[in-house]
């Protein structure tokens, strides 16, 4: 009997304690940060190092090997390249290695990207990496495709033309070389005769 009344009083008392706690919290400072107005990861620059956000390709460091394109599980990366020609001079990529390919197109479709980070793993020159940016949107799905190559169409065309021209030149050179070789061979054969 005593326990019955004790329980009632205790129940009442605990409810009062609980209500006091919620009442205190009613007037406390709120912890919510209004998202677009205040954006702590960018405002304070704090974002974990291993966070996987929007990708960025440093095209000056990319040798166009296409490893990222092959490793991408959702096929969101498109890479188009053309070979360099000797007339371009001694060009290197940022990390110092010799550039063998011009990258004409390096496009990432963010509407497909699953942020698996496999492209980052596969890149030999660490040209592709995650940035700190993660919220982006577009009114059209094509707006979510991003091409990192900044050459103009003329430059691209020139590079292609260069390559084609170089192919012709090289063919001629090869032919000449071949002819010269054969001539040399013939001469050598004559001498041995």
């Amino acid at each position: 009997m005593v326990k019955y009344f004790k329980d009632i009083l205790l129940g009442f008392w605990t409810i009062m304690v609980g209500m006091k706690i919620t009442m205190d919290h009613l007037f406390q400072k709120k912890v919510t940060m209004q998202y677009p107005e205040r954006f702590d990861p960018i405002d304070t620059g704090f974002m974990p190092d291993n966070s996987r956000n929007k990708l960025f390709v440093d095209i000056d460091d990319c040798n166009g090997c296409g490893g990222c394109e092959r490793d991408c599980p959702v096929n969101c990366i498109t890479v188009e390249t053309v070979k360099t020609v000797p007339s371009d001079g001694p060009i290197t990529i940022k990390s110092g290695a010799k550039r063998t390919l011009w990258v004409l197109k390096h496009e990432i479709d963010y509407s497909k990207c699953c942020f698996c980070s496999l492209c980052v793993e596969s890149c030999a020159t660490s040209a592709i990496f995650h940035t700190k940016e993660f919220d982006y949107s577009g009114y059209d799905r094509n707006e979510l495709k991003h091409d990192f190559v900044s050459y103009s169409d003329e430059e691209k065309q020139k590079k292609l033309d260069n390559f084609v021209a170089y192919q012709i030149v090289k063919k001629q050179e090869d032919a000449a070389k071949k002819a010269a070789d054969e001539a040399a061979k013939a001469a050598a054969a004559q001498i041995t005769k």
């Binding site: 209500m19 919620t22 919290h25 009613l26 709120k30 919510t32 209004q34």
Partner: protein, 350 residues
């Protein structure tokens, strides 16, 4: 105890219609305010800020929700029982709305000043029970049926302590008329029943503990009767989806929603009328008193108890069914009967 509409227009059918419409005109803005309060207070108590986008600091959020509900497709399940399914929300709402017929708003305005106001409020509460069973069964959904049965068991159980509270007040006031009960408490603040009622002398202090217990008993049973947390087992989202209104959508769901909020006001107003002097001013008859201030005091005090209900909702977790029945039958009912007998005895020797 006049009715200002009758004074203005005269006692005819137009006046009667106007009187019918006034509570409806009251319920709609009140429901919007209460929904906003629920959202905001709930958020603040959890250290959040709540809706902020619609309007200034999110004050238009309930309006947006109503617009959303209006636009929503009104889905009736194919295998539901259509006539009853469509009828149920209206019966629930009628139950809530009918109680407004006898709730006074001020000295000069009570929609219907019948002599049995308290009894009437107690009686029309049973409409909601039938409507809930109807909707729960007609939805043809296990969860709806379970929720409806739980709701009925709960409301029936908690009507008994509430009835005992009504009886105690009727005993001490000698009437069931709301306006007379309030008039009994007019004057200084210590005339309110929670402070022992209008009688003077030392016996007043004997009354106070019983009235306080009855006040708490009614507060708890009113929560159970309106299916509010911590007694929201009929709608327990984590157990039975949404209880009896699982299958409802669009405006029919809004009817259930409005009925719940209207019921919240009704029980708060009853608490105010029974224990806190209704429309009478806490400063006595001299200051801030009169018909217009009466509306302010009545609605203001009732809103405070709506706030208390919201406060409790965000404080306490849901009870289990057996705990609910234990509380209703083994704690509240004996307590209220004991208080009723004590008050009857005190009133007799007084």
């Amino acid at each position: 105890m006049g009715n200002f509409v009758f004074d203005l227009i005269g006692k005819n059918i137009v006046a009667a219609l106007v009187i019918c419409i006034i509570p409806l005109v009251f319920i709609l803005p009140y429901a919007l305010i209460a929904i906003l309060g629920e959202l905001k207070i709930g958020a603040w108590m959890q250290d959040r800020v709540g809706p902020m986008r619609t309007g200034w600091k999110g004050v238009l959020q309930p309006v947006a929700e109503v617009v959303k509900l209006l636009q929503k497709e009104d889905i009736t399940p194919t295998i539901a029982n259509k006539p009853l399914f469509n009828l149920a929300p209206f019966i629930v709402f009628i139950g809530a709305f009918a109680a407004f017929a006898v709730l006074p708003f001020s000295e000069k305005f009570i929609p219907s000043g019948i002599n049995l106001g308290l009894f009437f409020v107690f009686a029309v509460g049973s409409f909601a029970v039938i409507g809930i069973v109807m909707g729960g069964w007609a939805s043809n959904n296990k969860y709806s049926l379970l929720g409806a049965m739980r709701s009925v068991a709960q409301i029936i159980s908690y009507e008994l302590p509430a009835g005992m509270v009504f009886l105690s007040i009727a005993t001490i006031a000698g009437t069931l008329d709301m306006q007379t009960i309030i008039l009994n408490q007019s004057g200084p603040i210590w005339n309110w029943y929670i402070f022992g009622g209008p009688q003077g002398g030392a016996i007043k202090f004997l009354f106070i503990p019983f009235f306080v217990i009855l006040f708490i008993v009614y507060l708890i049973s009113s929560l159970a009767e309106t299916n509010r947390t911590p007694f929201d087992i009929p709608e327990g989202e984590s157990e039975i989806v949404a209880g009896y209104h699982t299958e409802y959508s669009g405006m029919k769901f809004a009817m259930f929603f409005m009925a719940e909020y209207a019921n919240m006001y009704v029980v708060s107003a009853i608490i105010v009328i029974l224990f806190l002097g209704g429309w009478s001013s806490p400063f006595g008859t001299s200051f801030m008193d009169g018909p217009i201030w009466g509306i302010f005091w009545m609605v203001g005090k009732a809103f405070f108890f709506v706030f208390v209900q919201i406060w409790l909702r965000w404080t306490l977790p849901r009870l289990r069914v057996d705990q609910l029945m234990y509380l209703g039958w083994k704690v509240l009912l004996p307590l209220s009967i004991a208080c009723f007998m004590a008050i009857a005895f005190l009133a007799m020797i007084n």
